[in-house]
């Protein structure tokens, strides 16, 4: 397994690493680039906690060949906030108690961002569909859905 140069844009910054041939993007991001925000949950594409955006589309980092992002734009949760200013999704997740253990949160945020970038005012059903590939085991789906709807500027009753 020889290492190959790989260049792509990560959260707006040009990034170049040497990656093992055949490595998956999640491993390269975490081990080679050092962006630890996408999480490793199952390694088999079922839990969605490694969700990242490639050219604005949600993808599963653990099932994406690193080489396939050559020259493309990759977004992770690490790029959501602008310095200390949080993304509206992050703010609403924070205030709406939409994270408990926090392990699924980066993937949820990226799936939600992909939705809101395409569809700024989604319906509740569209939100449910958008995060249907992301598993939360602390059972916080309702508050997550509410937070995403609020981040899109829709008035949703707050839990509690």
């Amino acid at each position: 397994m020889s290492k190959k140069p790989l260049q792509f844009t990560l959260n707006g910054s040009p990034t170049a690493v040497f990656a093992n041939g055949g490595a998956n993007l999640l491993d390269v991001l975490r081990r080679e680039v050092g962006d630890l925000t996408p999480k490793y949950g199952c390694g088999q594409g079922t839990c969605g906690t490694c969700t990242i955006l490639i050219d604005g589309e949600p993808h599963l980092g653990c099932l994406t060949l690193a080489e396939s992002v050559e020259g493309r734009s990759v977004e992770t949760t690490g790029g959501l906030a602008n310095g200390p200013d949080l993304h509206p999704l992050q703010k609403e997740f924070m205030e709406g108690f939409a994270a408990q253990c926090g392990f699924c949160t980066p993937g949820m945020l990226m799936a939600a961002k992909a939705l809101l970038d395409q569809n700024p005012r989604p319906s509740r059903e569209e939100v449910v569909e958008a995060i249907s590939g992301n598993i939360c085991r602390c059972t916080g789906y309702e508050s997550i859905i509410d937070a995403i709807l609020r981040a899109s500027g829709q008035n949703v009753g707050r839990a509690v």
Partner: protein
């Protein structure tokens, strides 16, 4: 979408609503890390030269290992170290040994006899995960496959294969004397005879995997000060630390454990399986080592909530009063103890559920089978028996044609009532829950029931009474072990080995909770002697009289019916003449129940340890 409704009208005088945080939305202190992806889970610590550890696992439910050949694996590319069972300094442990509970029964790496599918045998440390997996495949283990048992009641039969070498009878030894946890309160047998209906039921719950999104794992690395740092996703950092120190025979001062950020646990991350192997790997290679379950291991090897089976027998009067409740509980611990014996202690303390029942008995067994060892999960020990109890309440309600909510209110415990484990109930709220549930469900209850309250009616002399409790001819509240217990009551103790736990697990499930030849013995907890008002036959000199427990109701209306029932038929085998002398004077041995230091109120109090909870006697 808020689904939470505060009923501040209930117990309004007991609550201070003038609080700063309680009842108000708040922002979690760790949530900034969660939404920015910066919360430091154990896997978010990067190390140069990180090695990966994978285990060779048993493909068999039950097998003796004849030989292990790792020579091919040691020559595989990238393999840094093959860890064998003999490399573990102190290769036998049980999780709760740290609190002096149970015998050491589980090896970190099993070299003798594997007892469940997935039990680790050899660990491979390699440069990449892929290389470690390849080397795992290259290890040759020669097995002598043994018969296995997967059902706990099958495992209790005499001919069942012995699963756990520390507990050859396939049941955990409580206090090194008892093969089950026992609760006795009053006389269930007599109450069954006096009851209008006897309702029996069998209930079971499957194992449940916690399935956290972050699988269990740990990373360990040597530090420059001759210590090892271990980043771990454990839910029980000090269990992990103590377990590692014990298994590796290493002072805990050399272990620097960092945890606290857990990617979901729900009880599945308390078993401390990863930290000892990761630290051992770091110790043997001098390099950082990561040991993590993949998703398949998490599901197959990660310990689930254990399966439970409950048999419940209720004695019920026509008016809905439950006068007796008997339990036989069977926990499937899997191959090793882990936390199951403790779950049973919890379950026993919980019986008979949130109800005040004057006669309660239970035998609860912790049984070893060739399945994945069970461990903690959200309310373990309580969840399954509560499921069983509430299903049974519905069954009882349908049998006596009573609304199930009404049945619950009529039998609900109330503040000040004596519970079966001899502690007073407090902060009870079942009646109020039932009333709200009835309203929500549109069930019409009588005005009398809707006006009832947990605050009233409890703690009366009848409801606070600790009833006389039957003992056997050894002065015990029932037999210690199945080997002493006749399969059918009165048959004598001919059986030398373990008693059949049931024909196909149906007919005789385990030890009967109470034998018919048991007697009330002076000097025992709860003994009051025949009260002067009752005209009971005088006891023969060698034996205390068999005597029904007077339940509260008996003293009022139903005097002729229940106060003088026909005594139970004499046992076919008379008890040994060497029974303890019963002629001691009737001392007022009614024990004083637990009383809090301060007068009873509804504040939160730390419960102490009840010495009545089990049948143990101090040695």
């Amino acid at each position: 979408m808020s689904s939470i409704e505060f009923r501040k009208d209930l117990f309004a005088d007991e609550r201070d609503d003038n609080l700063n945080e309680i009842g108000k939305p708040t922002v979690r202190q760790d949530i900034l890390g969660h939404v920015t992806g910066r919360s430091p889970y154990y896997d978010d610590h990067l190390f140069d030269g990180l090695l990966h550890l994978k285990c060779v696992r048993s493909p068999h439910h039950h097998a003796r290992i004849r030989s292990i050949d790792t020579s091919a694996a040691e020559r595989m590319p990238g393999v840094k170290r093959v860890i064998k069972p003999s490399d573990v300094p102190n290769n036998l442990n049980t999780l709760l040994s740290l609190i002096n509970f149970g015998k050491d029964d589980e090896a970190l790496l099993q070299g003798g006899k594997v007892s469940y599918v997935g039990e680790p045998i050899v660990a491979i440390v390699a440069e990449t995960e892929h290389q470690a997996r390849r080397a795992v495949d290259a290890v040759k283990v020669d097995y002598d496959v043994l018969p296995h048992v997967l059902d706990p009641e099958e495992a209790m039969k005499p001919e069942a294969p012995s699963v756990n070498e520390a507990y050859p009878n396939n049941t955990f030894d409580y206090h090194e004397l008892y093969d089950h946890q026992k609760l006795r309160f009053g006389d269930t047998q007599a109450a069954f005879q006096a009851a209008d209906h006897v309702v029996e039921g069998k209930y079971q719950l499957s194992p449940i995997e916690q399935a956290p999104t972050e699988t269990c794992g740990a990373i360990a690395a040597p530090e420059t000060n001759d210590r090892y740092v271990c980043y771990t996703g454990t839910q029980a950092l000090f269990f992990s630390l103590g377990t590692t120190a014990k298994l590796l025979d290493m002072p805990s001062s050399r272990l620097h454990f960092v945890g606290g950020t857990v990617g979901g646990g729900f009880g599945g991350k308390v078993d401390s399986l990863h930290e000892p192997l990761a630290v051992l790997g770091a110790h043997l290679t001098g390099a950082p080592v990561k040991y993590v379950f993949d998703r398949q291991e998490e599901m197959q090897v990660g310990a689930p909530r254990g399966a439970e089976r409950w048999y419940i027998k209720d004695g019920v009067m026509n008016d809905g009063r439950i006068v007796a409740r008997q339990f036989t509980g069977i926990f499937d611990a899997g191959a090793y103890s882990r936390l199951s014996p403790y779950a049973i202690v919890k379950a026993t303390g919980h019986l008979p559920g949130p109800y005040t029942i004057p006669n309660v008995s239970s035998n609860v067994y912790c049984v070893y089978t060739n399945r994945t060892p069970a461990t903690a999960m959200r309310g373990f020990g309580i969840t399954a028996v509560d499921f069983a109890i509430e299903c049974h309440m519905d069954k009882v309600a349908s049998q006596i044609n009573m609304n199930p909510i009404e049945l619950r209110i009529r039998n609900a415990y109330r503040d000040g009532d004596m519970k079966a484990h001899r502690r007073l109930a407090k902060n009870t709220a079942l009646i109020e829950c039932c009333q709200v549930a009835a309203q929500k469900a549109g069930v019409r209850l009588s005005p009398e029931l809707m006006a009832d309250s947990s605050l009233r009616g409890g703690g009366t002399p009848e409801r606070i009474e600790i009833p006389e409790t039957l003992t056997d001819d050894y002065g015990k509240i029932g037999d210690r072990r199945r080997s002493n217990i006749p399969i059918h009551p009165g048959e004598g103790t001919g059986q030398q080995s373990r008693v059949a736990a049931g024909v196909r697990g149906e007919q005789v499930v385990a030890a009967p909770a109470q034998d018919t030849d048991m007697v009330i013995e002076p000097g025992r907890d709860g003994y009051r002697g025949p009260s002067s008002g009752e005209k009971l036959p005088q006891a023969p000199q060698t034996m205390a009289p068999i005597q029904p427990t007077p339940y509260p109701e008996a003293e009022t209306a139903a005097q002729p019916v229940t106060a003088a029932p026909a005594p139970p038929p004499p046992p076919t085998t008379p008890p040994p003449t060497a029974s303890p002398p019963a002629a001691t004077p009737q001392q007022s041995a009614q024990p004083t129940p637990y009383q809090p230091d301060k007068p009873f109120d509804r504040g939160v109090k730390r419960p102490g340890v009840s010495r009545f909870l089990s049948g143990s006697r101090r040695r």
